[in-house]
Amino acid sequence: MRLVLVGTSHHHAPVELRERVALDREQASALAARLAEGGCEAVCLSTCNRTELYVACADPEAAERAAVAALAELEPEVEEALYRLRDQAAGLHLFRVAAGLDSLVPGEGEILGQVRGAYEAGTTGPLLDRLFRQALHAGRKVRAQTAIAESPASVSAAAAALAEQVFGDLDGASILLVGAGKISEQAARNLVSRRARIAFVANRTTDRAAELAGAFGAEPLPLERIGEELVHADLVISSTGAPGFVLDAATVAEAMGKRRGRRLLLVDLAVPRDVDPAVNDLDGCYVYDIDDLQAIVAETLVGRRREAERAESMVAAEAAKFHEWHASLDVVPAIASLRARAEEIREAELRKADALLGRLDESQRRAVESITAQIVNKLLHLPTVRMKQAAAAADGVVYAEAVRHLFGLGEDER
């Protein structure tokens, strides 16, 4: 069985092209089943950043043609943006994908689940089963043993991580959303996913405030009342289109006086800024604007790339293990034939000596059986190991042929 990969990704195709070959789970499953017809195995991995077909087949040329045709059927233009990889290179590619090393943001966590989903929906056999299980294992290992996925990769994730630096567990933390735009909504959703609670939504137009507040089970507020509710909030996320400050230092200072030392984090995502920078000088107040958050994200991405270098060597080692196993498949039939031939000779010789051995008692006969079996095993141990090593070094087929020739394996059948 040979491994073939045909696909395209964000490195090779713009989104307008990728979206035309993107498949949902059912479509991906159906395509994999179609490519696996005739004794092959196939998995289709389709995400917003890539569509890749992994096919294991005895005839790699035919498998590659079928995979290219399947993608070209979805969008003929994609053919020029396709990459085609075989065996070791194809395996290493999947390992890198699963570890998040081929992602737009190195180490992003979603891809591991997407690879698992594709594997579950695929038509797999011994080769792709092993490939995908090992790739998933490598992906988990990279995330556990490096810090590649620890830091936030977006402004909203950075805001949530900062909130955790101030408050620790965000369970039940109360959020005041000022401005009901998309950006603040996104940041709020990230915080809600960490079990924070949107308590108030303040906006210049009360309709939009009520709509967003309804979605989060919060209370809508007119902008004029945010000073009052500052007393109760732990976190303020602001992104209005107001030309001046919506929250000045005096308003926040007044609220802080009533908070009995409780900390307040203000995340200002608006340009021009909504929160007076002087608020940061107040005791217990921490103000972050969009530039601060972007600087944090840029810094963490540098950190991720540094960790990605460490992850590459881990992934390469895991991929090498798979390659070793895959290559050993070339010599397994030769090894099996050799061992069968040796066993056949051993048994035949014992039968010949049956008249002599007949005089031995049961335990003596068992000892002779055991000794002869051990001699055969010891003789074959080194050739077996060497053949597997040769297989990993790409000489496996040559060695297997030599062994077949030297021991006359398969000649009886001819």
Binding site: Q165, V166, R259, G261, D283, G284, A295
Partner: protein, 263 residues
């Protein structure tokens, strides 16, 4: 035997102090090595104290230097409760250099070989008085270390450092809450320790010395920490500064004044 156990303990505490310094610059291996240094050093010092206790017929830490040895062990024990967690590793930077230096001072003062000298006081009194006061001071030391870490972390947040998320550190809320909880446990121990000492003072008709007076002032500062926190909302930065002021008094009581008291 005591000497044989002292040196590994000191070296391992020293290794931990250096390791935590490395952790502050590049989080990872250095921090793990430091944590193991603390664990193994603590085991060595525990064995050292066990040898001292076994060699003596009573409470063997009634001298100034001997009590310093016990104090270091209590500080490291308290630190080990949280210090092994990854996010609290930087706390070791405040605790372990201090512990290593004090252990060396304890040896220089004869606190390692001091076992064997008999105290005129009963073991029960010494355990209650010296043991409780030292345990409370160890708690205050940890609270001060947590407060120092709070101020460092708060400063980084205030300065909006882009690297803020690079080094794992506990949240401000966790540091503040843990410091307060540590004081809540330590202050009753100090109260009881002082109480036992005062009873003995009155019974023996002795006079209040500078150490007793300073210990009472220390008690007042830490009591004020809890009262102001509960009644006036003094949390965060103000509480951290107050804890550091209390710690200065702990250092004064432990290192500067005890000569006359132990004499």
């Amino acid at each position: 035997m005591a000497e044989l156990l002292f040196w590994p303990a000191l070296l391992l505490y020293g290794e931990a102090a250096v390791g935590y310094l490395g952790e502050a610059r590049h989080p990872g291996t250095a921090g793990r090595a430091a944590t193991w240094g603390v664990r193994l050093g603590w085991l060595a010092q525990t064995a050292l104290l066990a040898v001292q206790a076994e060699r003596n017929d009573g409470f063997p830490w009634s001298t100034w230097a001997g009590s310093l040895n016990l104090f270091v062990w209590l500080v490291v024990s308290a630190y080990l409760i949280w210090g092994c967690r990854r996010s609290f590793r930087l706390l070791g930077l405040a605790v372990m250099p201090f512990a290593a230096v004090l252990l060396a001072v304890a040896r220089a003062g004869g606190g390692i070989a001091a076992a064997g000298s008999r105290s005129p006081y009963s073991s029960a009194f010494l355990v209650l008085h010296v043991g409780l006061v030292l345990a409370a001071f160890a708690g205050f030391t940890l609270a001060a270390a947590l407060s120092a870490l709070y101020l460092w972390q708060e400063r980084r947040l205030k300065r909006r450092e882009a690297t803020i998320l690079r080094r794992p550190a506990p949240s401000l809320a966790a540091l503040d809450g843990l410091a307060a909880r540590t004081v809540w446990i330590s202050l009753p121990a100090l109260t009881l320790g002082i109480g036992v000492g005062l009873v003995r003072l009155v019974t023996d008709g002795d006079r209040v010395d500078a150490l007793v007076a300073a210990t009472v002032v220390t008690w007042i500062v830490w009591a004020a920490y809890l009262v102001l926190r509960s009644l006036r909302g003094w949390t965060g930065r103000r509480a951290a500064y107050l804890a550091l002021a209390g710690f200065v008094l702990v250092v004064l009581v432990r290192l500067a004044l005890p000569a006359s008291h132990f004499a």
